[in-house]
Amino acid sequence: MTDDMHLDARVRGALQDLPMPSEPETAQALRAVLDHRRPLPRRAAMWAPLAAAAAVVIIAVLIPLLRPDSHAGGPAPVAVSPTVLPGVEGTWWHDVSGATDASWNGRWVMTLNDRGVMALVPPSRATQVSDGAAYAVSGEQIRVNAFVNDLCSEMPAGVFGWARAGDRLMLVPISEPCPDRKDLFTGAWSKSP
């Protein structure tokens, strides 16, 4: 046996001992893929906890301002913990202005169903539309992969902090590498009737 053949055999043997996902892990992954769900981030960046904390603070400050009954000079409203508020499911809208792509300006409607599927309806003039997307909520964070096949191709899903106050949904970016998606989702969304 030559040195090369010996090395090849050692390499092959070592690699073939690398663990593979078990049957239950594979079945779980299949369910996630069939649901179009993206895996939850396992390798959170070191700054992610700080960003999450900052998002919670921002939400806690902004939510009272978004309340329909909030007004200057009134009694200071108590910030409500996002974890005890209703979920994100439902149909929401918000108006975009000043987008880099002018065709994005206008009303966007976002529907989040209870199976992790997100549908986006852009303004009628928009040239870029999402071909369907997935979202996953984990505590006070929501992960979305809209535009993964075009504008945000080759980028990981975006992570936003979320909070609800009545008929408002607030999204604050925590980790969003895709600028267009960040601009679109960040801000207050109103519940559609």
């Binding site: 040195d3 090369d4 090395l7 090849d8 050692r10 390499v11 092959r12 043997g13 070592a14 690699l15 073939q16 001992d17 690398l18 663990p19 593979m20 996902p21 594979t26 079945a27 992954a29 299949l30 996630a32 893929v33 069939l34 179009h36 993206r38 895996p39 981030p41 396992r42 390798r43 071909d131 997935a134 096949n149 080759e154």
Partner: protein, 175 residues
């Protein structure tokens, strides 16, 4: 591998055929990516991303001659992108025990050294080694998957083997 011929089986729905393909291929794709990405969790994330894309295009790709090559090509491209983004990260993962310290069978130290040495190679070399040595693919297949010419694959494999031999010698000397 051996499922490239499966396409859509007669009488089997799209989701069923996809599930069958997924169950057969996903574990292998994760293992291949764990060579390229050095980290099992990242390998699972990228593999799932590739299979989500496959699922979206399953009606078309399942009719291809080699859907398993399609999903590997997508997965490897995603993996290369991930590595590019993380290039500035300290490569601590290279030092992690790729077998999770479970001690599947001996000699543990040697196989751990070998995989650690492979993980010190550039991502494309790791993909070459994963496809050629782990998956036993012929040079022509490796070339097709990585968008290289067969001659370039042979040269790259030869260089990777030389680098690996040096790295392994360095790893073994202290013992």
């Amino acid at each position: 591998m051996g499922v490239s011929h499966m396409s859509k089986a007669e009488g089997v729905g799209d989701e069923d055929s996809f599930a069958w393909f997924f169950t057969a291929e996903y574990p292998h794709v994760v293992r291949l990516l764990s060579v390229v990405l050095r980290d099992r969790a990242a390998a699972e994330d990228v593999a799932q991303e590739a299979f989500v894309r496959l699922y979206r295009h399953w009606a078309k790709v399942s009719r291809y001659e080699a859907p398993e090559a399609w999903v590997r090509r997508v997965a490897l491209n995603c993996a290369f992108s991930v590595r590019r983004r993380e290039a500035r990260r300290v490569d601590r993962e290279a030092m992690v025990d790729p077998f999770g310290g479970s001690g599947l069978r001996g000699p543990d130290t040697e196989r751990t050294d070998i995989v650690r040495a492979i993980r010190k190679l550039p991502p494309r070399d790791r993909a070459l080694i994963g496809l050629y040595h782990l998956e036993d693919r012929p040079v022509a297949d490796v070339a097709d998957l990585l968008g290289m010419r067969a001659g370039a694959v042979k040269v790259a494999l030869h260089r990777a083997r030389r680098r690996l031999a040096v790295l392994l010698t360095e790893a073994e000397v202290p013992r």
